[in-house]
Amino acid sequence: MYHKEKSIPIKSSASALYNNLSVLRIAPRCLTYFTVVHANVVNMVSASWDGLNYSHRQLQSKEGNVATSSSLIMQAAWCVLPSRDLLVLTSQKGIQMYESDGSIMVYWHALDTPETPTAKAVFAQGISAVREKHICVGVSSGSVLVFDVPSKGSNITLSEVLEEHKEAITDMASECSGSLECIADLVSADDSGLLCVWKSGEDFQLLNKIPGFDTSCSSVKLWKGTVIAGYGTGQIRLYEAVTGILHAEVNAHARWIYSLDIAPFTGLIEHMYNECVTDTQICGAKFCDGDGYAFAVTGYDLSEIIRYTQA
């Protein structure tokens, strides 16, 4: 089964945020890009597939208004569209989209912040590319912002705002099997555990709402019409996206789930392997390839990306 490989060091440790690891596989160059958020910095690492060679880069959050740029980053994720790859950052101030190497910021969207601070913090969290040209981002108010992304250039526009969630969005995921037969394209999750299932298009259409059960849904995936959701109770639940029928429930963890991932080409949802990273609060976990050959893990306060591969 899996065994631990040499870790990849990162410049600064991972913050305790949901889904605090994003992975982009660059097949032509046999490279994997990783991003891990630390406070207001994004650690970027490009590593060879064996993990032995790597180079670092740090992205400081460059926000619209430089004078107030100390805001914390909530998530960094690569969005893969058929025409281009973008690196999307969400923070307490807004949403930034960069070219995939982090070199050029192509778009900046500021969040509405109230003049006088209220008890509820403002931030964006939950990032997903959907089908041909959309990138969806969640906001603490519960809104889901849909951006229309052209095949090149910076003419990105906010095309729609979806208002179905009442609590802060935690995570979003689009269909990852590549199958075009599935009706549901996107699932959004919030702090109350509510899941909304969407069909994309010129206008997004709500297909179903799957109620929560008093605990936050921190991480979600959508695979061949099945929603896989991880919760604060440590449970993983599998729902049929369109009908909301619960197919399986796993008492998986003894603590809050921070991250969940699926290897789309394995065709299985099965308990394969477990491993305890001693004395580490896991905050990011991602498969490095579609076949689930390798996966990577980050932990709060830990300045490394831990890798596992199949023997």
């Binding site: 913050s15 440590g234 008492n251 709060y300």
Partner: protein, 353 residues
């Protein structure tokens, strides 16, 4: 993430500070009446109405440095004096203890229970002084109203904590290891077990979020006792923990704004001057004066307040005021009880900002 993190941070760190001071006051055989006065004065200052009103307003967290300044002032709110090395050590112990408690919290909501444990202990410290007790109770009521989860943490560079993989799971969580499959009509059709790699038991009952009650959780209770005193020996990580702290010296564009916030906060901090008859005394967080002296010498320069390099802009008048404040912060010597006027000037000036 919440904009109500600051009061929780303040109460919990303040609670830890009181535990440590209480233990040190006993260990150094400070007369009971003086020790009582110190505890009462600090608690009175901590729970000052005006101060707490500012604290409970929704706001961002302060920088580490600004928060440290608040606690420096608080520790010197009475007739007790700490030198820089002892203050460093006190702050290291406080922050490490609370970080441990946050990290070990089974659920986000349990941070409230940790805070209640601190509040319960503080109430116990002042149980004989009804006026202070009612002041503390007022804050407890406010705290009960705060039910926003805390998801972000202060980051320090301490060592790693041991995280258990056994014992009871958090309230609301099932012990891991079970998979259940359901049919379309919702009937359970299959059940599978797997090994979870830990050794967990069922959850305990939920702690009480009321004014009085069993919090169940032990995090946030007083760890220091006669049999387990504050670690005064310098060893391994504790010796170096302050040295390892990387202090960010790049100019912070928010420094000015933060100073203003701090001034507003401190405006509420009424610091009691030692009265003529009351002679002050010094508390040492180390085993001997020699060790304290040594720690003071090896104290890294960047920990001194002189690194407050504020590039104040434009407004000349503000600039001059800030320069004055910076000058005051630059004082590194041990404040002796007889010359407490420096600190009072600073407060007066901050009030005037």
């Amino acid at each position: 993430m919440s904009t109500r993190t600051l009061p929780l941070l303040f109460i919990n760190l303040g609670g830890e500070m009181l535990y440590i001071l209480d233990q040190r006051l006993r260990a150094q055989n400070i007369p009971a009446d003086k020790a009582k006065k110190v505890m009462n004065d600090i608690i009175t200052t901590m729970f000052n109405k005006k101060f707490l009103e500012e604290l409970f307003k929704p706001q961002e967290l302060y920088s580490k440095k600004a928060l440290r300044t608040v606690f420096d002032r608080l520790a010197h709110a009475s007739i007790m004096r700490l030198n820089q090395a002892s203050m460093d050590k006190l702050y290291d112990l406080m922050t490490m203890a609370f970080k441990y408690q946050v990290l070990l919290c089974p659920r986000p909501k349990d941070i409230l229970l940790v805070s209640f444990n601190h509040m319960d202990a503080i109430r116990d410290f002042v149980k004989d002084t009804p006026s202070i007790l009612s002041q503390v109770d007022e804050t407890n009521k406010q705290l009960i109203e705060v039910s926003i989860f805390l998801k972000d943490k202060v980051q320090n560079s301490n060592g790693r904590f041991v995280l258990p993989t056994s014992g009871p799971v958090p309230y609301g969580t099932h012990t891991p290891g079970l998979m259940r499959m359901f049919s379309c009509s919702g009937e359970e059709v299959r059940r599978m077990q797997f090994r979870d790699g830990g050794n967990y038991n069922a959850a305990l009952r939920e702690g009480s979020f009321e004014m009085y009650g069993d919090r169940v959780i032990k995090l946030g209770t007083n760890m220091y006792s006669v049999s387990r005193p504050v670690e005064t020996h310098m060893s391994g990580t504790s010796k170096n923990s302050s040295q390892h702290t990387k202090v960010n010296t790049t100019p912070n564009p928010l420094a000015k704004e933060e100073l203003n916030l701090l001034a507003r906060l401190m405006g509420g901090l009424e610091v009691q001057k030692p009265a003529g008859t009351d002679s002050g005394f010094r508390v040492n967080l180390f085993a001997t004066d020699e060790e304290e002296e040594e720690a003071l010498i090896s104290r890294p320069d960047e920990l001194s307040y002189e690194v407050l390099n504020i590039q104040a802009t434009k407004d000349k008048q503000t600039n001059a005021e800030l320069a004055k404040i910076m000058g005051e912060f630059g004082e590194t010597g041990e404040p002796s009880p007889s010359s407490s006027s420096k600190g009072d000037d600073l407060l007066a000036m901050m009030d005037g900002l």
